[in-house]
């Protein structure tokens, strides 16, 4: 029984990673209707940025994390300006090719600049353990869960109760109507990517110490993010987040009771099932990101 509980806790940790990453994707898909295949590689870029600040420059954890988030926000704005703005009004095929090209450039750019050896960024919280019976959990993982919770609370407040958040939701529901209501689409566009990239930066700062940093880390994540997004309702943040946690738990429990060979298959099996049975997502049909 305790093993089951431990697997649930494992699932929540990886679910937090998925949730933070997918939210960014849900925002860009929901608000701008743009499909970004370099999302996972931005996560990889953020991991290397965090490694640079935390391990290479040896800045302590909190400032390194903040620097990573801020710099990733900048990367998001830059990305919007250079890649997305040209293709946001074009067809999905063009968007696919443009963002896939960006992904390849980022991926191979990192390999050329930094080399392909993997790096690790453990924090002191990694080895400080909390033990309850036979279950042990590192403080870093507790931090991941806590900060993710706070981040989503903040996102909720932002989207529901602030002017800009409401503007974002308006654009996601009906772009033309929002424009005629006086909302600055270009500004919202920049802000969406800034927020999306900042969330990725946050997930990097939280999660990279637990794993390791290597160039291929983004590839499967992009695919899984899209799978989760499909399950939760394409372009909906409040569908994507629970779907992400559900997937994390399913993967953990499935690995525990079936086999680790099937871990990656869960996300895609769920996606296929949802597309067959309830293509609008498992949380029902609703317009807009939140």
């Amino acid at each position: 029984m305790l093993i089951f509980v431990e697997q649930i806790l494992n699932g929540l940790t990886v679910g937090s990673l998925y949730a933070l990453v997918v939210t960014g994707l849900a925002l860009t898909v929901g608000v701008l209707r743009v499909v970004n295949f370099s999302h996972g590689d931005l996560f990889m870029l953020g991991a290397y940025i965090f490694y640079f600040f935390f391990s290479a420059l040896e800045i302590s954890y909190l400032p390194a994390a903040i620097l990573t988030i801020v710099l990733m926000g900048g990367v998001g704005v830059l990305f919007e300006r250079v890649v997305i703005r040209k293709v946001v009004t074009r067809s999905w095929q063009i968007q696919l090719i443009a963002t896939l090209a960006a992904a390849t450039i980022i991926n191979n750019g990192v390999i050329v600049l930094v080399g392909s050896m993997s790096k690790s960024t453990p924090t002191t919280l990694n080895t400080m353990l909390v033990e309850v019976g036979t279950i042990s959990l590192s403080y870093q993982r507790l931090l991941i869960l806590a900060v993710t919770g706070v981040a989503f609370l903040g996102l909720h407040v932002f989207l529901k109760h602030t002017r800009t958040g409401k503007a974002m939701r308006a654009v996601s529901q009906n772009r033309e109507a929002a424009e005629s209501a006086g909302i600055d689409i270009a500004h919202i566009s920049r802000l969406t990517f800034l927020l999306s990239a900042a969330l990725i930066g946050l997930s990097d700062a939280l999660v990279t110490p637990v794993y390791s940093v290597f160039p291929a880390m983004g590839m499967v994540l992009t695919m899984k993010a899209f799978a989760v997004l499909t399950v939760g309702g394409f372009g909906r943040v409040n569908g994507a987040v629970p779907a992400a946690f559900l997937l994390g738990i399913a993967e953990a429990v499935g690995t525990g009771y079936l086999s680790s060979s099937y871990t990656d298959a869960f996300a895609f099996a769920a996606m296929i099932l949802v597309l067959l049975v309830a293509p609008q997502g498992i949380f029902g049909r609703k317009v807009g990101i939140y």
Partner: protein, 391 residues
């Protein structure tokens, strides 16, 4: 857009580009050598992992082959001609490798190929080199099928320098069986991992040791906790890890975090290597773990030269390709030419004794039988527990 830029500017840009390109190709490549041999270069193709999930292995491979070629060329080359490497990216993926090796054969017109590193990729590429009659020397992949399919009665163009898992996994299983009564096997979900796992399982059961389960993980998978939690529930005494350092290190850190420190660890990859310690940053993690490998850094002279060239310690996945080039050079010398068939015939006749790894002579299945090393982590130092011949 081009119409708006004036013609003289384009011409200027192109001229600058051509100058920059010729300047870079003139200075790129090897450091200055003492005696650069003249003559038409002898072309050797290298299939490297430069993208995808295992790029760290490609960097090692490249360093090994590059250093070997530099040293050989500094001593006058082979047959008075310099060796020249042609690198391609196989991405550790069979489909990509088939195209990459095709380029080496048809476009670069190499005399011999060294690599690929991944077992699954080698198996995919073997028919190609047979069809195109190009000799290929494998220096890292450990699936036993490669030898089973090569040499007499099979593919006569493929040779393997490194010993494979039919030898290493079996030998390590005997060590495991003497020390624990039950074990779990954790392996990469590819030909390398699955091949080794099957040998471990067979031998362990033969020895009467209980195998609690075989867990496969994906290369580059970041989270091992669910798998490790399951292992924790099964309570084996030992854990066999068929993994390279970039995967083994996060696995080890997460295992320690989960409280799995009483498990005896046995590696069959690159677990007991400085690279592993560099990633875990804690010598207490998996201290005492043993590993069966194809080479160990036993205070060698190669290590000093490698450090001088690349500013870090040599790794087994760099050392094997290094000796691969040495063996290829010897074959070309014996053949007296760089003709593909002559080189292939000469490889079958190579009979070297390399102090670092042992005897190199290819048997009827084109497999060499150099020594096997068992290493162990001893508080941050790699200790060589034993070195045994495998003939």
């Amino acid at each position: 857009m081009l119409a708006r830029v004036s013609r003289p500017s384009i011409r200027l840009l192109l001229t600058l580009a051509v100058i920059a390109w010729s300047a870079s190709s003139a200075t790129a490549g090897q450091p200055p050598t003492a005696k650069t041999p003249a003559g038409e270069p002898i072309r050797i193709g290298v299939s490297l992992i430069q993208s995808g999930a295992n790029t760290a292995l490609g960097q090692d491979f490249n360093e090994g082959t590059t250093m070997a070629v530099e040293e050989i060329n500094a001593r006058g080359g082979v047959l008075g001609r310099p060796l020249r490497l042609y690198n391609v990216d196989d991405a550790s993926d069979p489909a990509t490798a088939i195209n990459a090796v095709g380029k080496l054969i048809d476009v670069d017109k190499v005399s011999a190929i060294i690599g690929p590193s991944s077992s699954g990729v080698v198996l995919a590429v073997m028919p190609i080199v047979e069809r195109s009659t190009v000799p290929m020397l494998v220096t890292g992949a450990t699936n036993s099928k490669i030898t089973e399919q090569a040499g007499v009665g099979g593919n006569k163009w493929v040779f393997r320098l490194n010993i494979d898992d039919s030898v290493m996994a079996t030998a390590l299983s005997d060590v495991v069986s003497k020390e624990v009564k039950s074990a779990v096997i954790v392996a990469a979900n590819n030909d390398y991992g699955r091949g080794a796992a099957s040998f471990f399982q067979k031998r362990l059961i033969q020895n009467g040791t209980k195998v609690t389960s075989i867990e496969y993980y994906t290369n580059g998978q970041a989270d091992y906790r669910p798998m490790l939690t399951k292992i924790k529930g099964d309570k084996p005494e030992g854990m066999i890890v068929v993994a390279d350092a970039p995967d083994a290190a996060p696995m080890a850190m997460q295992a320690t975090e989960l409280g799995l420190s009483n498990l005896k660890v046995y590696g069959r990859g690159t677990v007991v290597t400085p690279e592993f310690l560099r990633l875990t940053k804690d010598q207490k993690i998996w201290n005492g773990a043993k590993e069966a490998n194809r080479w160990a850094p036993a205070g060698s002279e190669l290590e000093q030269r490698y450090r001088a060239r690349w500013a870090r310690e040599p790794r087994v996945l760099a050392v094997l390709p290094y000796y691969g080039i040495v063996v290829l050079a010897e074959a070309i010398k014996l053949a007296g030419s760089d003709d593909r068939t002559a080189v292939r015939d000469a490889l079958a006749k190579v009979n070297l004794n390399i102090p670092e790894i042992g005897p190199v002579k290819f048997d009827a299945n084109h497999q060499a039988h150099h020594d096997m090393f068992i290493t162990q982590w001893d508080n941050g130092t790699v200790k060589t527990v034993s070195r045994q011949p495998t003939q």
